[in-house]
């Protein structure tokens, strides 16, 4: 069989679909254009799928032999068409039901689960292409003098294919671990294997060697070994990363899923896949970079994992002097806030855990009735994935023009009467600005301590933040600790505001 000729109209259609995907991301530059962008995405996908369905109709060959003739007819294989449509239908049903039912607080898990599906799909496509390369137009059939004809996959395609399968497998197993951690099926704390760096390096080198060998020989042994080792390294890479580093992990896996799609796009010579892969790959990479910058940590140190481990031990051994702090009640908080001119609410992961976003918005509404200006300040790494807090606040009907990013609002704390910190801790810690020995030194933080009064909602005084560092804000004269479950405390404040 010769190389499948690419019809220019088909190639053009895939290009259009790639452009639609660019517009889909472009739309996200503002909430007002985002819905339209999402529709472009759907159109792009519809074009790509339709084009593939139309140009790759499954056929069966019939050999009709008459008395004096023999002819080969090919006709549409209806059962195969049905199977494909059924497969799409099953996927659509599962996808739509999941998307409708999922709670907004569970969005990080859902995204991780979706990443794992992209990864697995990439592996399946690569394996299918490896088993039937002629169908993908990436092989020449060689007929030797003796023996069966066999397919020789093009050298370039061998590289693309092995890259696609490796990245796909890493995305899959890494995302499964990320999902289990985010979903609480697996402890969030980093799990550290002894000599894990050496193991990872060894597995990484082994993958590179067998991939190289596959390129030379096209041997199934090398192929399957790369698949297995890539699954293993995805697992090994994510297991030691925990808790607050999850936003980086989720972004990174997002990026990998893109690169996997791009690699398969190279294999299939499909511009829609390549454009999408490049978009998604850079998107995930940029998000990882933003998250790392927001924690002042290098990407390498996040990937190396184990953050928060040594610090936990340190805070126990450090035996801090008991410093005085003030405890406040819901009534105190309600009174202080109702008298304020401006209140800035600083939400964190704790708010998501307590599902306090709705009652928080009620509190904000009550405060507005008292003539208080309410704003929200979001730290980039608040929550477990980029933009997590924004979605939760949007879910609770908080208008997005009341929600501000760190750099846009940080200067306002000095002119603010009350900073209301709920479920956040490390992102408000002034030690990041002053204490060079602190593990979070250099991380950009919200300057809540500059507000006239800080109200800090926290479960108890015992627990420290993820980084395992004490927060000086707790012990300031102008801080009042509101020790309770976040949701209960805000509910009580709402009652007291009546």
């Amino acid at each position: 069989m010769e190389q499948v000729a690419v019809n220019p109209w088909v190639a053009l259609a895939y290009l259009v679909s790639g452009v639609c995907f660019i517009l889909a991301l472009r739309g996200l530059s503002s909430p007002t254009t985002s819905q339209q962008g999402n529709r472009y995405g759907m159109i792009g996908m519809a074009i790509a799928v339709m084009m593939t369905l139309v140009t790759h109709v499954p056929t069966v060959s019939l050999i009709v032999e008459g008395d004096d003739y023999a002819a080969i007819f090919s006709r549409v294989d209806k059962s195969a068409v049905f199977e494909i449509l059924a497969a799409i239908g099953v996927g659509a049903a599962i996808g739509i039901v999941t998307a409708r039912r999922i709670a907004m607080t569970a969005m990080p898990q859902l995204v991780a689960a979706f990443h794992s599906l992209v990864g697995l799909a990439a592996v399946l496509v690569a394996v299918a292409a490896y088993l039937n390369p002629v169908a993908f137009g990436i092989a020449d059939v060689v007929t030797p003098l003796i023996g069966q004809p066999f397919a020789v996959i093009h050298a370039v395609s061998r590289i693309e294919m092995i890259l696609g399968v490796a990245i796909g497998a890493i995305t899959f197993s890494g995302s499964v671990i990320a999902f289990l951690k985010l979903n609480g099926n697996m402890g969030g704390a980093p799990i550290l294997l002894p000599a894990r760096h050496a193991i990872n390096l060894g597995v990484g080198l082994a993958i590179a060697w067998f991939a190289f060998h596959f390129w030379l020989t096209q041997s199934p042994f090398d192929f399957w070994l790369v698949v297995l080792l890539s699954f293993a390294i995805g697992f090994l890479l994510i297991v030691p990363i925990g808790g607050a580093d999850m936003p980086v992990v989720v972004s990174m896996l997002n990026s990998y899923s893109g690169w996997a799609a791009a690699a398969m796009g190279f294999t299939l010579h499909n511009s829609a896949m390549i454009i999408t892969g490049a978009l998604v790959g850079s998107s995930g990479a940029i998000l990882s970079y933003i998250m790392c910058r927001a924690m002042n940590r290098s990407f390498i140190s996040v990937i190396a994992g184990g953050f928060g481990q040594s610090a936990e031990a340190g805070s126990g051994g450090g035996a801090k002097v008991d410093r005085p702090w003030k405890r406040g009640s819901a009534e105190d908080a309600a009174f202080l806030m109702s008298q304020a001119e401006q209140v800035i609410i600083v939400p964190g992961y704790g708010m998501a855990v307590a599902q306090a976003q709705h009652v928080l918005r009620e509190m904000a509404d009550k405060l507005k009735e008292h003539g208080v200006r309410v704003k929200y300040a979001i730290h980039p790494v608040a929550g477990r994935m980029p933009g997590h807090m924004n979605v939760l606040l949007a879910e609770a009907n908080v208008p997005y023009d009341e929600v501000f990013e760190l750099e846009d609002i940080n200067s306002e704390f000095a002119q603010t009467d009350v900073a209301f910190v709920i479920g956040a801790n490390d992102v408000t810690n002034p030690a990041a600005k002053t204490d060079k020995t602190s593990p979070i030194y250099g991380m950009p933080v919200l300057d809540v301590e500059k507000a006239k009064t800080v109200l800090f909602v926290k479960r108890s005084m015992g627990g420290v933040g993820y980084a395992g560092v004490d927060n000086d804000v707790f012990y300031m004269d102008n801080t009042m600790m509101l020790l309770a479950d976040a949701k209960k405390m805000v509910e009580e404040i709402v009652k007291s505001l009546d």
Partner: protein, 99 residues
């Protein structure tokens, strides 16, 4: 298409991605992840080719499984994105406080 032509598309698309993604407002980073998830499932194209091809039964079934997985992602990803985006609202009335 030859390799260099494909590589050119890829490299240019990386640059486009870089500038487009930096212009995404941080408030929409979660929908960004959801929608990138959906569009990266364009890998369904490969799965469709595999499942439509004659010649290898195992390849066909792997393709069909790939179609199911990618479809979950496509429909789920776009649906959850539009559900999220529908929640982002501006203030209904500019002047809320009357007291």
């Amino acid at each position: 298409m030859d390799f260099v032509a494909i590589l050119s598309i890829f490299v240019l698309a990386c640059f486009v991605g870089y500038y487009v993604v930096w212009s995404v407002t941080p408030a929409l980073h979660t929908p960004l992840m959801a929608v990138t998830n959906a569009i990266s499932s364009v890998i369904i194209v490969g799965a469709l080719i595999a499942s439509a091809a004659a010649g290898s039964t195992s390849s066909k079934w792997l393709g069909l499984l790939g179609v199911v997985l990618a479809s979950i992602n496509i429909f789920g990803g776009f649906a959850v994105t539009s559900r999220m985006l529908a929640m982002y609202k501006k203030k209904e009335r500019p002047a809320v406080a009357k007291h």
